[in-house]
Symmetry: D2
């Protein structure tokens, strides 16, 4: 199935570029799924919501691991949180969502993040790491 999907791409797109394209997809899918979800500053709520989003994105092609945190930088979860009134909650937005996605396409391992960058006033999606790794089948072939 992966080869069939690849056949829809121009031939001069490399495996490394495929990994980068897929990473962009996952980061944006995560962001647009998460934004607008109600959230409150109780550790159990934040952890459950973050875990649900992470496990959902982990279903997507080539994903190895997803980590999600719903906290502004420097903010701390309030373990003794008590709702003060019925409107005392907020929503996931570009400032409080942080996530990393780790994926592998063939021998390319790539990691990306979503994080709010104050100087840009923007939740930037960016690549943090890209590396070529020996595939287990290649190892076998070489030995």
């Amino acid at each position: 199935m992966e080869d069939l999907a690849r056949s829809y791409f121009p031939k001069n797109i490399s495996d490394r570029e495929m990994a980068i394209f897929e990473l962009g997809i996952k980061l944006a899918a995560l962001f647009h799924i998460a934004v607008g979800m109600p959230i409150q500053n109780a550790s159990k709520t934040r952890e459950s919501v973050a875990m649900g989003i992470a496990k959902s994105i982990e279903c997507q092609p080539y994903v190895k691991e997803v980590k999600v945190s719903i906290l502004e930088k420097g903010e701390k979860v309030d373990k003794q949180y008590k709702k003060r009134h019925e409107f005392d909650y907020n929503s996931i937005n570009g400032k409080n969502l942080q996530a990393s996605v780790d994926l592998q396409y063939k021998n390319w391992h790539v990691v990306g993040k979503i994080e709010y960058i104050p100087q840009l006033n923007y939740p930037l999606m960016h690549i943090t790491k890209i590396e070529s790794i020996p595939l287990s089948s290649e190892k076998t072939n070489k030995s």
Copy 2:
């Protein structure tokens, strides 16, 4: 804050009607947040994603409890699920999403559901229970 919010409604809206209005809001919020989330038939994934959605909606005003299940009626979670290829997953949609929301507005307790109704070919949001309950403060006043 609840009284301030109420001041934006016409005066002839009853507490019972407020409960019903709020229930409609929660069911639709849940549905439109959930639809499109990637999902696969592994028990851990389905439970995490369902829990994340439920805990998010529980942040909203007047909600007591939310239950979410991501399974078509009669479908069973595959505890031995293995991904067969990278595209072997689906998404939350109107057919596989079931949820119930339990909320209380003043002395009105109301429960509603989202469930796919084959005869309508539609994910129907409906009320399943509505009842007036004695408020604890009223009990105290009477004693």
Copy 3:
């Protein structure tokens, strides 16, 4: 089909309550569909995005008319808007989304709004009007 849907509700839910429940659904559907959509302060963009959301919600049961505006109260659309740099845009959120939904269930006409209320720091969904109207079939019967 409408009668079949109604059969899933408790018998003591009135037509007026059905209208109120359906209004809650539409307002929350609109909000959670819209939040997170990229937007910029150009009149053509704002009008197109607002129109798309309105026309989508008008597909839902019992809806007569939907109006959407993507502007904070008092804000004005910039007709000479020029993008200053690539990150010069924002998203629909609880503060800049205003909408009204007008629906009719049997002889009940009900109107509701989403609008940001600064004192609540909250995008409140509320009912603005509810009235019983003579149905055209009833008129015919009386004549």
Copy 4:
């Protein structure tokens, strides 16, 4: 601002790879914003909703043009559409959404599509074209 954003990426990511990464982001943002929006088979509704989504994604960085169509392949819009009953509509999903995104990052022009591929039973996001173009500033420099 674009240079500041670029500083968050590894140095060995090329301009061509940046264009590919940004394309993945836009396609997934479009998909997850659109999925779940109510739709009906009336030309005015489909065109308005498609236009609203396109204009929203055109706000994102580096995007030149977005085209959206909400129709399964081979399906035709019904210009005489009449709603038969209140539940006679559907939603945007992986099968009826088609879109193309055209973007430029520095001298790289890249085009991508979302389209349902029956053999994959999957709404595939893929690159359809990538080319290097002379930048106007380069032209100026050469003259």
